[in-house]
Symmetry: C2
Subunit: 332 residues, 2 copies
Amino acid sequence: MVKLAVDVMGGDHAPDEIIKGVKLALERYSDLEFLLFGDENVIKPHFPNEARVKIVHAPDVIDMGEKDPIGAVRKGRNSSLVRAFQAVRDKEASGVVTAGPTQGVVAAAHLIIRRIKGMKRVALCPTLPELGGKKRFLLDVGANTDLRSEHLLQFAQFASIYAREVAGIERPLVGLLNNGTEPGKGRELEKEAFELLKNDPNVNFYGNVEGKELFTTECDILITDGFTGNLVLKTCEGVAKAVGTFLKTEINTFGKKIGYLFMRKVFKKFKQTLSPDEIGGANLFGVDGIVVKAHGSSDAYAFSNAIKQARLAVLGDVVEKMKSIIGDEEDD
Amino acid sequence: MVKLAVDVMGGDHAPDEIIKGVKLALERYSDLEFLLFGDENVIKPHFPNEARVKIVHAPDVIDMGEKDPIGAVRKGRNSSLVRAFQAVRDKEASGVVTAGPTQGVVAAAHLIIRRIKGMKRVALCPTLPELGGKKRFLLDVGANTDLRSEHLLQFAQFASIYAREVAGIERPLVGLLNNGTEPGKGRELEKEAFELLKNDPNVNFYGNVEGKELFTTECDILITDGFTGNLVLKTCEGVAKAVGTFLKTEINTFGKKIGYLFMRKVFKKFKQTLSPDEIGGANLFGVDGIVVKAHGSSDAYAFSNAIKQARLAVLGDVVEKMKSIIGDEEDD
């Protein structure tokens, strides 16, 4: 059985959609067991005779707009988020799924579960919008703004294991986001990371990848620092947001209006695909347990997909495989 | 009269489209005079009795794919690009327009024209794709990968003068690209730049702007380092490139196919708008003269627009106005 902790109170549509998402996952996967953290009075009536669910009363909520996530995690002893992460730390669950605030999740992962020995930073890793018809992982997208090249190497190693064990890509191809394709491009960070990635036996390195190849590159994994990753991911969202304005200006003839009527759904899908709401769960790589951060606005289906992702990561034994690569490197 | 130097041999469609672009500009603006640098034998027949054109024989070309632009500029004594930049240095022309390779242009600006005293870095500043129906300037997009906060401040000052004098925006609103909107977000670079921008009397500072607001923010100018700016701009191009693949997958019913027929032009426009080919000329801010880098693939019309841009910058006296802000700051 795969045992997962769920933060029932985190997310824009918590607890209702989270509860529904858990129910959906119970139907979809018979090997799942849950520890649900949240308001017992709200949760209990939904699972009257469910042997695979255990409810732990932890009614406090860390707000989605929390300005001081680290403080909130330190102080929030009875918050559903903190308690769910503690369950992973205490090995009561193999992973945690939450739609709570991103920086709260990053803080809880650091402070409660803690990093794998030798893993120097954590990374937030979503899949890119599947515009080009291929799944691609992008990391880091915001867990760390300042990174060194050895951190990028560890991210590449971790994501390679994940892509192999969870997405079933035998030799995942890793690209380094850069401002040009030639070796030697980029900041010191990219120049150093290029050499490390090129020479690492655990990484199938492609080389540099430019922003314009984001959805067409043959790479399965794209590596960058958390600041750049955030800007790149959000720029996609920015384009999606502007599509409506663009169409309003351009659909100025009768023919185009007719065409638009037939194609409304295509545009909606385009905007959705580029929106982070649709990207599903982002993995937090680097701590000693599986952490999946579902998007804040997750509905039941999206949340059940985030659960599915955590389940696959547990079954793929991703964390233990990363530990064996890191070996006994010094922590810092 | 406004006197501009033109690199006739630079660009994917040089010299033909460049020559046509100059002709177009001569028709459009009666106050323009040109110094044309390139192969005299090719250029001369096109301007038999043109008093406003002087041709200088400089037939060598710096290749669009040149791997060592600095070396090429140093060695390319009779290249059209180098000679055109020398004309600005020697005050024979007030500005230069070229569709040559970006890094060659940056190198020539640095090595030949040189920076304004006190201006610590140069920046490449295009306008963002006009998806949201508003002109926005983004800088730096690739002249410098590593920058300090005081460089970002100077870019903001320079772009503010430009936006006022050339685009006619009275109090241009300046945003700092960042991974969140709250003050205190970002790397050390952004945290420091935020304080400098907030307190500078020459800058009308809005605050932090996220990637998702790129085409919807009320800001006229967006400031970032050259690495991030390059990735952001190229990500827009990446989305444009993927639109075709996306449509192929999604247009799977008869109705959608009909709709697509009516809307083909809208899609084409969307792709074009997001493509750097359509962005027109990028300004190079920071050197002692006007430099406009037209896109490599410029046709005659695009090149004449880059000329128009250089003309406006000369008439707006942008460089002298920046000098008066910088005063006698120490160079480094």
